[in-house]
């Protein structure tokens, strides 16, 4: 961990600016002719927690495999930590921890021996500190008590934790986590999320693929959305949702009066439900709108703008009937 605290913005990213992952026109066509990833231009800023979103089969895993040097791109380039992949796997990957498409373990080995094996796989890992680093990683994911058990006896959640521990055997500059909370109970999910936040605050860039939107919204600073092998959008999480306008929500027993006043004040698309009136907010100070409601004798119990969730943005971007290009 001392390496991490000594972190400073060094000259280690010569050409990619402040980006940890940069792809340009990255394309993968499988031998069957299927286009899995199509002209991807992805930029992951250093220090971000980057959410990588997309429906199943949208090309997320193929992209991750190309970034990790497991798959050769058909065309285009991918740079990780400023170096080209897959050519620079030997220098790049020791600084990258990865969880790809779920954990994979040797069932006949104990949890600790699984980590021993993966650590031995890294030629830059010091065998003198191996035991101690493994103990620290196990502790970090809460598996110390089960470390001696055979991995085949692990639950899915425990396997997931062990996979995460393997990614944390060394101080990393980048963590690539593909669906890290799969198979975990809500408590485990919370633990993993707080672990991700902790790692990010140490300066590690986290590239997180997930289909759980609230997860992305809770931990990510940036996000990208993929569909059918193409990148639909990327940017700061706040900006993505900001493209969507929020809806004004008024909670009141006098729904009919409220709806009338809102229309008079210029609000569009007024919808009345049981005890709520929602509308597109007009372009004016909402305080005036509230004052107008009160003046008209509407008993207002709640008044506010409901922020659009990332889910709304996601459905808008990937769902049918929307102009995706816009």
């Amino acid at each position: 961990m001392t390496d991490m605290s000594a972190a400073e913005p060094g000259p280690e990213q010569p050409d990619a600016g402040d980006s940890v992952i940069v792809t340009r026109a990255l394309t993968k066509r499988y031998r069957g002719g299927q286009l899995a990833v199509d002209g991807l231009d992805l930029t992951v800023p250093a220090g971000s927690v980057f959410g990588f979103l997309g429906p199943n089969g949208s090309g997320k895993t193929t992209t991750i495999r190309m970034l990790m040097g497991l798959i050769e791109p058909t065309s285009g380039t991918a740079r990780v930590l400023g170096r080209p992949m897959p050519r620079a796997t030997r220098t790049v990957l020791p600084q990258v921890g990865a969880l790809i498409e779920g954990p994979a373990l040797y069932g006949f080995l104990s949890g600790r021996d699984n980590l021993l094996r993966y650590d031995a796989g890294d030629p830059t890992a010091d065998p003198r500190t191996r035991r101690q680093r493994i103990a620290a990683a196990l502790d970090r994911v809460g598996l110390t008590a089960a470390a001696g058990k055979k991995a085949r006896a692990y639950s899915l959640g425990m396997k997931q934790r062990l996979g995460l521990a393997a990614a944390l055997l060394q101080p990393r500059r980048l963590l690539v986590l593909d669906e890290p909370t799969n198979g975990l109970d809500p408590q485990g999910m919370r633990e993993i999320r707080s672990l991700i936040r902790e790692l990010a605050s140490d300066g590690t860039t986290v590239f997180l693929s997930s289909h759980l939107l609230d997860e992305i919204e809770q931990v990510c600073t940036h996000a990208a959305v993929m569909a059918q092998g193409r990148l639909i959008t990327q940017g700061a999480v706040g900006d993505l949702a900001a493209g969507m306008r929020g809806r004004l929500v008024v909670t009141t027993p006098d729904t009919a009066d409220a709806a009338r006043v809102l229309k008079e004040q210029g609000a569009g698309d007024v919808v009345v439900t049981e005890d709520q009136v929602t509308a597109e907010p007009p372009d004016r100070d909402l305080a005036d709108l509230n004052a107008a409601l009160v003046t008209a004798g509407v008993r207002v119990r709640g008044f506010g703008v409901e922020r659009p969730s990332l889910e709304d943005a996601f459905v808008a971007l990937t769902g049918e009937g929307f102009d995706v290009a816009g």
Binding site: L93, I100, Y118, T124, A125, P171
Partner: protein, 289 residues
Amino acid sequence: MSQAELTRPASVLWTFGLLRNELRTTLRRWRTLALLGVLAAVPVLVGVAVKIETGDGGSVGGGGGEGPAFISQITNNGLFLVFTALAATLPFFLPMAIGVVAGDAIAGEANAGTLRYLLVAPAGRTRLLLTKYATTMAFCLLATLVVAVSALTVGALLFPLGDLTTISGTQISFTEGLGRALLIALIVAASLTGVAALGLFVSTLTNSGIAAMATTVGLLITIQILDQIPQLDALQPYFFSHYWLSFADLMRDPIYWDDLVKNLGLQALYAGVFGSAAWARFTAKDITA
């Protein structure tokens, strides 16, 4: 984050950590132990069978020429059980065990999904392949030694030991006989390097460990059958198993080297060709498992 971390100092010796781990991991597989157990049982079976059949003072197989080489001499000298056991296991049991270990080497890891984690560790494709081949060769040696040691133990327990007569009719001391036995074990282990390379190549072609093992063992049986068909005698010198039983020439006095050298050359050829093919395939392969 610092520059120092980017070029983390690494000792050259650390790179062998994977080989050590691979050897240990292979030996901890239940399957490996079962294979070694079967191999250790063969000399026991042969020894006990010979003992029972010759218990009434008769000789094995009557006039000889039947059964594995040297079997008729076991009753005179237990050391011959080593040669008999190796001759009995070399055509099938030993290469089958090697085929299982070699065939599973890459495909088994792919099947379990552990291959992708080894590669992002990053184990390095060439390094991983060399580690797997070295481990398979170590298993060849271990498997052969298991047969030899088991045979020597059983031979010593059931039969007398002493000076022995070579095929050429000369006498050599028991110590020299032991030396010859060790040499034969090494030659037998070396005879298996061709199958090991073939199995490793097959292993890079598929993501199913079972398929790779079955293919390798299938090829082994096919070659053995083809080697028996007289019409193919033009091809047979190129079959990896063709000179296997030449190890018996080590029991001549002086040793007759021709076929032994041909065998080793052929094994080197197989190792070179299929080793290169495995490397070419594995380093260019998309890892989708």
